[in-house]
């Protein structure tokens, strides 16, 4: 074994035992797609918060990758089928997979929809060896996934009969981090699992690039966060592999990179991948919520879960602790219970815990009738299972996240809890030729770890030939109002193939039905000045999304300036210079 040698790191005065726990990780590839029931050999991708979160094999083959924007992905693969993410379905489907694994071992830890893990120590004896255990677990998971993928609960599922659901990936190694990477690196499980031999984790990890330290969520979101900064620095220092990083002395890493660096170093050295100083939680920290009357709606339960998660976080942080593993237990009026252990590679913040409660309850309350409870939930318990000393957080002085940003982020998260996901949105520059597509609104997603909320971005500097000249209208109508544009003789104004107007517009006729009681509605408003026309023909190569339009600016007698657009022979008011 030529792996790097690391002495047992001394943390908080106690020597962490390098007892490597054998962990088996099961990963279901393309889970967001499989959960939607989309199994086909046509390229498809799932979009969440404006970024690609999953793409199937044919789409990946042409370069579509996680974290890309829709536009980039469609540029690489124009015929790709774009689906919206449905986290509820993902969680529901995966709950079935996790409960199926309950037949193998009761100690399944769910990580997130699409990935779970368990320690092999007990079941390995029952099944007679790791190879047999892996085979059995993979068969159980594949069977459960096939039931989910057959799309029993409707949705956009389109299962092409000849196509296989991608088989689950299984990896076994010392420690969850190495096992997770082994699962990612292995082939479809029953035939090609990746089993890293005992003590082989350091050697297995050594050649891997340091980018694997990044949490999976950060691939889909903005590349902010302490780990991203760390990886960035490591690459610039020339430490491009985990082995090179692990070879550094622990004390120097701690001195230079702090606790973030220390935790990453422990992951990279493959000896003990739990965060430094982890210990079982004291028993009196569990937070419970009682519901009276019982709750059977997911949004109400999730709303209460959020405040319970915050209470748990508060209770832990007053003792200087943070939670890495949490047990979520729900009980109904009729005594049915479901308990699930959630683990994360990093620290579970209030938002992350609340997400996991929502996932678990989604799977239970909306699952197949056999597992669905017969009455509402009366009690929800969040019990921390493993805690670490909290590393604390420093507010930004200049730049970074200020107190105002924190407060605004919390308020947004609360309103998302009230109104549902997607109701709170933040603008993002996209660039375009018309005021309605230059800035897009993307759903606000609370950063799972610390970091800014993203959004904003810089105005597009690239030229957009044919873009509407500025200034932009202050009101862009979500539902454009149909109008008539007539010339002095009362005939409708048309535009010829070269973009020329048939006659100067004279009046703007607003149909009576679309605006309640406008006095001038019937006869129309006189156009006192106008400009244009500006024709634009976008995406002429794509029959479905082609936009061909002619824009005119018009000022009517009351001083209002409007952007009037002709599309397919119909005039509409697309925007008002309010």
């Amino acid at each position: 074994m030529n792996g790097p040698v690391v002495n047992g790191p001394v943390v908080n005065g106690s020597i962490a035992t390098p007892a490597a726990v054998r962990i088996l990780v099961v990963g279901c590839p393309d889970w967001p797609l499989v959960a939607l029931g989309v199994v086909s050999d046509e390229p498809a991708l799932v979009l969440g918060a404006g970024r690609v979160v999953a793409a199937n094999g044919p789409a990946r083959a042409v370069g579509v990758a996680r974290g890309q924007r829709r536009r980039e992905a469609q540029f690489l693969c124009p015929e790709v089928r774009v689906l919206a993410r449905d986290e509820g379905r993902e969680a529901r489907g995966f709950e079935a997979v996790v409960s199926a694994l309950g037949a193998v071992t009761p100690w399944v830890e769910a990580n997130r929809p699409g990935r779970c893990s368990f320690g092999v120590r007990g079941p390995v004896r029952l099944f007679g060896g790791e190879v047999a255990l892996v085979r059995h677990a993979a068969e159980v998971v594949d069977a459960a996934v096939a039931r989910v993928g057959s799309g029993s609960d409707g949705g956009p599922g389109s299962r092409v009969p000849g196509c296989q659901i991608p088989g689950c990936r299984v990896g076994v190694a010392d420690g969850a981090f190495a096992a997770g990477l082994a699962a990612r690196g292995g082939g479809p499980a029953p035939e090609h699992p990746m089993i890293v031999p005992r003590g082989g984790s350091p050697a297995f990890l050594a050649p891997l690039p340091v980018e694997v330290l990044l949490p999976v969520e950060s691939l889909a979101g903005s590349s902010a966060g302490p780990t991203a900064d760390l990886v960035d620095v490591l690459v610039r220092l020339g430490l491009t592999t985990l082995g090179a990083f692990a070879a550094l002395p622990v004390a120097d890493v701690l001195a230079r990179f702090g606790t973030v660096g220390l935790d990453a170093h422990r992951l990279a050295s493959g000896i003990d991948d739990r965060p430094a100083g982890h210990r079982p939680a004291p028993p009196d920290l569990a937070v419970s919520v009682d519901f009276d009357p019982p709750v059977d709606r997911i949004d109400r339960a999730a709303f209460a879960a959020r405040s319970a998660a915050e209470a748990l976080h508060e209770r832990l942080s007053t003792r200087g602790m943070a939670c890495t593993r949490v047990v979520v237990e729900a009980e109904t009026e009729h005594g049915e219970r479901v308990s699930r252990r959630w683990r994360d590679e990093g620290v579970l913040g209030p938002a992350a815990v609340a997400d996991r409660v929502r996932w678990q309850l989604e799977g239970w309350l909306h699952g197949p009738p056999a597992v669905r409870p017969t009455s509402g939930i009366t009690r929800l318990v969040l019990a921390p299972d493993e805690v670490v000393p909290a590393s604390g957080r420093q507010m930004g002085f200049w730049g970074g996240v200020s107190a105002a940003d924190e407060r605004a982020g919390r308020a947004c998260a609360r309103v998302v809890g009230l109104l549902g996901p997607g109701s709170v949105r933040i603008p993002e520059w996209r660039g375009g030729r018309d005021p309605d597509n230059r800035v897009a609104l993307v759903p606000f997603v609370e950063p799972a770890r610390e970091g800014g909320s993203g959004g904003g971005g810089q105005p597009e500097i690239r030229p957009w030939p044919g873009a509407l000249p500025g200034p932009s209208p202050a009101a862009v109508h979500v539902e454009p109002m149909a109008v008539g544009v007539v010339d002095a003789a009362g005939a409708p104004v048309t535009v010829d193939g070269r973009g020329g107007l048939s006659a100067p517009p004279d009046r703007l006729v607003v149909p009576r039905s679309s605006v309640g009681t406008r006095p001038a509605a019937a006869t129309g408003e006189r156009v006192v000045a106008w400009a244009g026309p500006w024709p634009v023909d976008e995406r002429w190569w794509d029959p479905l999304r082609r936009r061909r339009r002619v824009r005119l600016q018009m000022v009517t007698a009351d001083g209002t300036a409007r952007l009037v657009v002709l599309t397919d022979g119909r005039w509409t008011v697309a925007a008002t210079y309010d």
Binding site: P293, V295, D296, A304, S307, E310, E333, S375, G376, A404, D405, R407, A408, R410, A411, R414, V415, L418, L419, S423, V424, R425, I426, P427, W429, P435, R438, V439, L441, F444, G455, G456, G457, P459, G470, P471, S472, P473, A474, A475, V476, H477, V478, M481, P504, V515, A529, W530, A531, G532, V555, D558, G559, T560, A561, V573, A575, T576, Y577, D578
Partner: protein
């Protein structure tokens, strides 16, 4: 078995937990007086550290009491936008005026939220000077949820722009105004006059902006384009001369940014 639940969430659940109890005492505009919890009777007269700090603080900085506004609005709001007030903006050009009010503050670290105006032109907002990375847009909530949503933002976000599609209740509006005063946010009620029925605000507004005269420049020749708009803006309300203040602005100016004429 109680499968049927009330469709709306009970008020107690919405109110709990109180969203901004995590503000530090000195972060609150009007910290409650009183001894710290757990202080014994003998210590009752000893002020807390925060209280002592507040007493010896020389004065409240102007920045703490007012949000900065664009230079173009200096004629209308020479001291900036006082925190904790409610503002009404109505008529033609109301959206542009509201965006101009918010622009400078968002550039200096304040957040702004728009509740219920899906038509707001975000490209125009950026041109006027609003920092889009600190702007949040919320779809119009149901009338029953409108007040809790707005109340959540008041106090957490410095500028709350509302354009309710319904007529809010008098009680809700009074509570929101009180919450603004207490927590230092500015609530802007937008009632655009164009293509929309003008809906009223059932309460007193501290400042009212209105646009009196509008004229577009740039369309003199038919082959030109809209370039800038001259508008006479007047503001009246509490703390201003009875006849109010008025000023002529180019909004938007030739390059989008408002200019004082």
């Amino acid at each position: 078995m109680s499968r049927s639940l009330p469709a709306a969430l009970p008020r107690s659940l919405l109110a709990e937990p109180e969203p901004f109890d995590d503000l530090l005492p000195e972060e609150r505009p009007f910290p409650e007086a009183g001894p710290p919890e757990g202080a014994g009777p003998a210590l009752r007269a000893v002020p807390s550290l925060a209280e002592a700090a507040r007493r010896v603080r020389p004065t409240t900085l102007a920045v703490d009491r007012a949000l900065p506004v664009l230079e173009a609005l200096a004629g209308l709001l020479p001291d900036g936008l006082r925190r904790g007030i409610t503002v009404g903006v109505s008529g033609t050009g109301a959206r542009s005026v509201a965006l101009a009010l918010m622009a400078r503050a968002t550039g200096t670290g304040s957040w702004a939220v728009v509740v219920g105006d899906g038509d707001l032109g975000l490209a125009a907002a950026a041109e006027i000077g609003v920092a889009l990375e600190r702007l949040v847009v919320v779809d119009a909530p149901d009338p029953g949820q409108w007040a809790p949503v707005v109340a959540t933002f008041v106090g957490a976000v410095d500028l709350v722009l509302v354009s309710p599609g319904h007529r809010p209740s008098v009680g809700d509006v009074r509570r929101l105004a009180a919450r603004c005063r207490e927590r230092g946010s500015v609530l802007v009620h937008l009632s655009p006059g164009v293509d929309h029925p003008v809906d009223g605000w059932p309460g007193r507004l501290d400042l009212r902006f209105s646009v009196d005269e509008v004229g577009w420049g740039g369309l003199d020749g038919e082959r030109d384009r809209l370039r800038s708009r001259r508008m006479d803006v007047s503001v009246g309300g509490r703390g201003l001369p009875t006849e109010g203040r008025r000023d002529a602005l180019l909004l938007p100016g030739p390059d989008g940014v408002p200019v004082r004429q």
